[in-house]
C-alpha cells in the first residue's frame, strides 16, 4: 500500500534570497550622451557662451570712477567693505539692495518654473553649463557616444591613457580657470593675476582657487548628473511651483504609442501604430540618463535635447515634429483623453490624426495666453514690486549722510558760566569717491553754539569739515546753550544737526535731544 504523506506546500519565497537581494550601495552607471543637433542645442550653446562669457570676463571690465575709487566695473571690496557695480557703489548698510536682488532672483526662479518649467536647470544652472562644457571637451577628445563607450570598455592601451590624460588635463585647466575667475571679483583683476602667478597673492586666494577647482572638476567632470539627482534640493522644491499649465518636456504618448520598430509590417498586418519608432534617439542624447518616454520624472532637467533628437527623426520619417515637446499637463491630458476616448480604450493614434496622417487640428496645443495665470501674476507682481522698490531705494538714497549719537554719560555738563553742554558723536558719511567740504550747522536749539574736538573753530553756530572720498568721518561735537536760553530746565529740548555740501547741494539732517539739569 502506498501511503500519501500530508504536508503543506507554501506559496512563499525568501525575501532575502540572493536573487531578490539588492545591493545596499550601487555604483554609478556611466552615461555617454550623444551629441544632439537642433534649435534647443543651439540655444544651449548660446546660453553657455553668454553665461560663461559673463562669468569669466566681467572682472576685466574697467569703469572709471576717478582717482579715489577702483576702476573695476564689478568689485566686491571686502577689505574696505564696498561693493562696486558699474555706476552703483554700495556700502554695507545698503546691502539690503543686494538682498532685494536675491529675493528677486528667487521670485524670478518661481516665475520661470511656473511658466516654462525647469528652464533654470536645463539651460542656465552653473552645474548644467559646466557639465555641458566638460562633455563638449570629452566629446572633442574621445569622440561621440559610441566611440566613448568603446574606449571606456576597451583595455588600457597607450591611446586610451593618452586620451584620458588629455581629457582630465583640459578638465582641470577649465576648473582652474573657473576657480581663478572667481577671485578676480574680490580684488583688482590685473594686479591679482600678476600676484597670483608670481606667488605673491594672499593665501586665501590660493585656497579659494584650490577649492573651486576641486568642486568644478569633481561636480562638472566626475559627478555630473548625480549632483542634480542626489545633491540638489531644487528638483524637490520645484514641484511646488509647477502646475498643470507649466511647460515641461513631455513625451506625447497619445500620438507616439503603441511604439513600433516595424511600422510597415504592422500596417500590413492591420495593426495601428503610433509615431514612436523606438529608435532611442531621445535616450542616447539625455545627459541625465533617463528615458523621457517614462513620463515626467525628478531627474529630468528639461534641457530639451531629446526634443531636438526626436524632431530630427520625425523629419527624416516625414512625420510631424513634436512627438517629444514642451507641453503642459493640461494639454497632455486633453490629448490623452482624445486618443483614448476618455480612457475607455488603449491609445488609438488615428483619433488624433487627420485623413492625411498629420496631427489633427483638434489636439490641444500650447497657447501663450496660458502664461497669464493668477500664479504667474502673483510671482511677476511681487518680482516687479520688489524691483521697483529697489530702483526707488537706489535713486533716492543719500550720498551724504549724518548719524548722531548723544552722550549718555554724562548726559549734560554744567559749565563754570552756568551754561549747559551736551556731547555728541557725529558721523559724517561721504558716500561719493571724491573729497568734499561740508558745513555742519545747528538748528532748533535757542542760543546753541558748538565746538568740535581737535578742530580750531571756537564756539560757533557752524563748522566746516573736510571729508575724505568714500569715507566716514567721526567728530566729537560739544553743543552748549547759555542757561538763560533754556526755558524748560530738566526737559529734553529738540536739537537738529544739518550738514550741507554747498557745491553739490547734498544735505542731510538729524534730530536729537539736548538734555539739561532741573
Amino acid at each position: 500500500m502506498t501511503g500519501t504523506v500530508a504536508f503543506e506546500r507554501h506559496d512563499a519565497e525568501a525575501v532575502n534570497s540572493a536573487r531578490l537581494r539588492k545591493p545596499l550601495y550601487s555604483a554609478r552607471r556611466k552615461i555617454f550622451p550623444k551629441r544632439a543637433k537642433g534649435p534647443y542645442r543651439n540655444f544651449k550653446w548660446l546660453v553657455m557662451a553668454v553665461t560663461l562669457g559673463i562669468y569669466y570676463l566681467t572682472p576685466w571690465i574697467r569703469w572709471d570712477r576717478g582717482p579715489f575709487a577702483p576702476d573695476q566695473a564689478v568689485l566686491i571690496d571686502l577689505a574696505n567693505r564696498r561693493f562696486y557695480f558699474f555706476f552703483i557703489e554700495i556700502w554695507p548698510q545698503e546691502f539690503f539692495l543686494v538682498a532685494g536682488l536675491l529675493v528677486m532672483a528667487g521670485l524670478g526662479l518661481f516665475l520661470l518654473t511656473s511658466t516654462i518649467g525647469r528652464a533654470w536647470c536645463g539651460y542656465t544652472c552653473p552645474q548644467t553649463v559646466w557639465v555641458d562644457l566638460f562633455l563638449a571637451v570629452e566629446r572633442a577628445i574621445e569622440g561621440d557616444r559610441n566611440a566613448r563607450i568603446r574606449l571606456d570598455q576597451g583595455p588600457w592601451t597607450a591611446r586610451k591613457i593618452a586620451l584620458r590624460t588629455l581629457k582630465h588635463a583640459i578638465w582641470l585647466a577649465v576648473a582652474v580657470a573657473t576657480g581663478g575667475a572667481w577671485i578676480f571679483y574680490f580684488a583688482d583683476a590685473p594686479t591679482l593675476l600678476r600676484d597670483f602667478v608670481t606667488g605673491q597673492a594672499a593665501p586665501v586666494a590660493y585656497t579659494t582657487v584650490a577649492i573651486l577647482t576641486a568642486t568644478t572638476y569633481v561636480f562638472g567632470g566626475l559627478m555630473r548628473e548625480q549632483v542634480c539627482t542626489y545633491m540638489c534640493p531644487w528638483p524637490r522644491i520645484q514641484a511646488a511651483m509647477l502646475d498643470e499649465h507649466s511647460l515641461t518636456v513631455t513625451y506625447n504618448d497619445w500620438r507616439g504609442e503603441p511604439r513600433s520598430r516595424g511600422t510597415k509590417k504592422a500596417a500590413a498586418l492591420g495593426i495601428e501604430t503610433g509615431d514612436c519608432v523606438d529608435c532611442n534617439a531621445c535616450v542616447v542624447v539625455c545627459p541625465m540618463g533617463i528615458d523621457i518616454r517614462d513620463g515626467q520624472q525628478l531627474e529630468c532637467i528639461t534641457c530639451a535635447l531629446c526634443i531636438d533628437a526626436c524632431n530630427d527623426v520625425m523629419d527624416r520619417l516625414g512625420r510631424d515634429r513634436g512627438l517629444i515637446s514642451y507641453a503642459t499637463l493640461a494639454d497632455y491630458n486633453a490629448n490623452m483623453a482624445l486618443a483614448t476616448g476618455n480612457g475607455t480604450h488603449a491609445i488609438k493614434p488615428s483619433l488624433v490624426r487627420d485623413a492625411s496622417g498629420r496631427i489633427s487640428d483638434t489636439v490641444a496645443r500650447f497657447h501663450p495666453r496660458k502664461l497669464l495665470r493668477p500664479r504667474t501674476f502673483i510671482y511677476f507682481g511681487s518680482w516687479a514690486l520688489i524691483g521697483l522698490l529697489l530702483v526707488y531705494g537706489l535713486v533716492s538714497r543719500d550720498r551724504l549722510e549724518l548719524n548722531v549719537l548723544h552722550d549718555r554719560n554724562p548726559q549734560y555738563v554744567v559749565l563754570s558760566d552756568g551754561s549747559i553742554r551736551n556731547g555728541y558723536t557725529v558721523k559724517l558719511l561721504n558716500k561719493i569717491p571724491e573729497p568734499r567740504t561740508v558745513t555742519v550747522r545747528l538748528g532748533g536749539l535757542p542760543g546753541a553754539t558748538m565746538s568740535a574736538v581737535g578742530m580750531e573753530d571756537s564756539e560757533s553756530k557752524q563748522i566746516t569739515v573736510t571729508l575724505e572720498p568714500d569715507r566716514t568721518r567721526s567728530l566729537k561735537i560739544y553743543v552748549r546753550q547759555p542757561r538763560e536760553k533754556n526755558r524748560t530746565p530738566g526737559k529734553a529740548q529738540r536739537l537738529v544737526f544739518h550738514v550741507v555740501d554747498k557745491s553739490s547741494l547734498d544735505s542731510a539732517e538729524y534730530v536729537t535731544n539736548f538734555e539739561s539739569p532741573e
Binding site: 539588492k22 545596499l24 554719560n409
Partner: protein
C-alpha cells in the same frame, strides 16, 4: 516577514514606511555617498591625531600639530601689541600738545586713555568722568589745578595731597571754625554767594573775605590754580552750592586726595589719560 511591496510606477520595492500615502522606495544608496562617508570618518581620525582630542586620565592628547587655544590667544595678543607699538612709540616721544595736534595719535591716545580711565579712575570720578560731590567733574571747564594739557598731565602724574610723591599738588584751606565766629562765617557765605550770582558784593562779608580768603582765592574770588584754590564766582561747586554746604566747607574744609599715577602706570599711560581727560570738553 511578508512579501515586499513593489511600487507600481517605479517597479522598486518600498521600505514599508508610509506617510500620508507617500511610500519610501528602497533604492540603493549611491556608492560615492558611501565613499564620502568613509572619507569623513578618515578625516575625523586624522583630525583627532592632529589636534587635541582624546581625554586621558588627568589630561588629554595634545595632537601632533601642538595647537592650543591659549597659544592662539597669545599670538593674537602679541600681534595686537605689535599693531599698537608704532603708536605707543610715537606717544612716548611726543609731548601731550603734539599728541593733541596729531589727528591719528590723538584718537589712539583717547581710546587708550579711556581704557585706562575705566580701570583706574572711574572709582571716584565715575564712568562718564562726571564726578560727584567732592570728586571733580572732569567734563566741565573749571580746573582746580589748571586745565592746560601740561597742568592736567602734572596732576595725574603726581596726584593731589598724595604722600608718596614729592611733586604732588598740595594745598590746605584752614579750618575757619577756629578762626572766625559763626556770624562772620555766615557773612562770608553770603559774600561768596553774591560773588557767584553776580549780586551786590559790597556787603558785611567783603572785609572778612579780603582778610581771610583773598590770599588764595583772590580779591575777586576768582581762585588760583597755582594754589589749587577754586574759583568761587562760577556755577560749579565741588562740595555743593547751598549756604549750609558752603558754610560747612569754610568751617572744616574737606580735602580730596588723588594718587600719583605716573609711578604706577608709567609716562605713556599718563599722557594717554591726559589726552582723554582733555578731550572730555573742558580742556584749555
Amino acid at each position: 516577514m511578508s512579501q515586499k511591496e513593489i511600487d507600481e510606477i517605479s517597479g522598486v520595492a518600498t521600505t514599508g514606511h508610509e506617510w500620508d500615502g507617500i511610500k519610501e522606495l528602497d533604492n540603493p544608496m549611491p556608492r560615492w555617498w558611501l565613499w564620502t562617508f568613509y572619507a569623513t570618518i578618515f578625516w575625523a581620525l586624522v583630525y583627532t591625531i592632529a589636534y587635541p582630542a582624546w581625554p586621558l586620565v588627568t589630561s588629554a592628547t595634545t595632537g601632533i600639530l601642538n595647537w592650543s587655544s591659549r597659544a592662539d590667544l597669545q599670538a593674537e595678543l602679541v600681534s595686537a601689541e605689535a599693531a599698537k607699538s608704532d603708536y605707543i612709540a610715537a606717544i612716548e616721544k611726543a609731548s601731550v600738545e603734539e599728541i593733541l595736534a596729531d589727528d591719528t595719535l590723538r584718537q589712539f591716545a583717547i581710546s587708550a586713555g579711556a581704557a585706562a580711565f575705566k580701570v583706574n579712575c572711574v572709582q571716584c570720578h565715575g564712568s562718564g568722568a562726571a564726578g560727584s560731590p567732592g570728586y571733580p567733574n572732569l567734563n566741565d571747564d573749571e580746573w582746580l589745578w589748571g586745565g592746560s594739557p601740561e597742568d592736567i598731565r602734572a596732576t595725574i602724574a603726581h596726584g593731589i595731597r598724595f604722600a608718596g610723591d614729592d611733586e604732588t599738588r598740595v594745598s590746605e584751606m584752614p579750618a575757619f571754625a577756629d578762626i572766625l565766629s559763626r556770624d562772620e562765617i555766615d557773612a562770608v557765605v553770603k559774600h561768596v554767594l553774591a560773588l557767584s550770582s553776580g549780586g551786590d558784593v559790597a556787603d558785611a562779608g567783603a572785609e572778612i573775605f579780603a582778610q581771610n580768603c583773598a590770599a588764595c582765592h583772590g580779591d575777586a574770588g576768582k581762585g588760583n590754580p597755582e594754589l589749587g584754590a577754586p574759583d568761587l564766582t562760577d556755577a560749579i561747586w565741588l562740595y555743593g552750592s547751598e549756604p549750609a554746604e558752603i558754610a560747612a566747607q569754610i568751617r572744616r574744609p574737606r580735602h580730596g586726595v588723588m594718587p600719583a599715577w605716573e609711578a604706577r602706570l608709567g609716562e605713556t599711560a599718563v599722557k594717554e589719560l591726559t589726552v582723554y581727560v582733555h578731550s572730555l570738553g573742558g580742556g584749555e
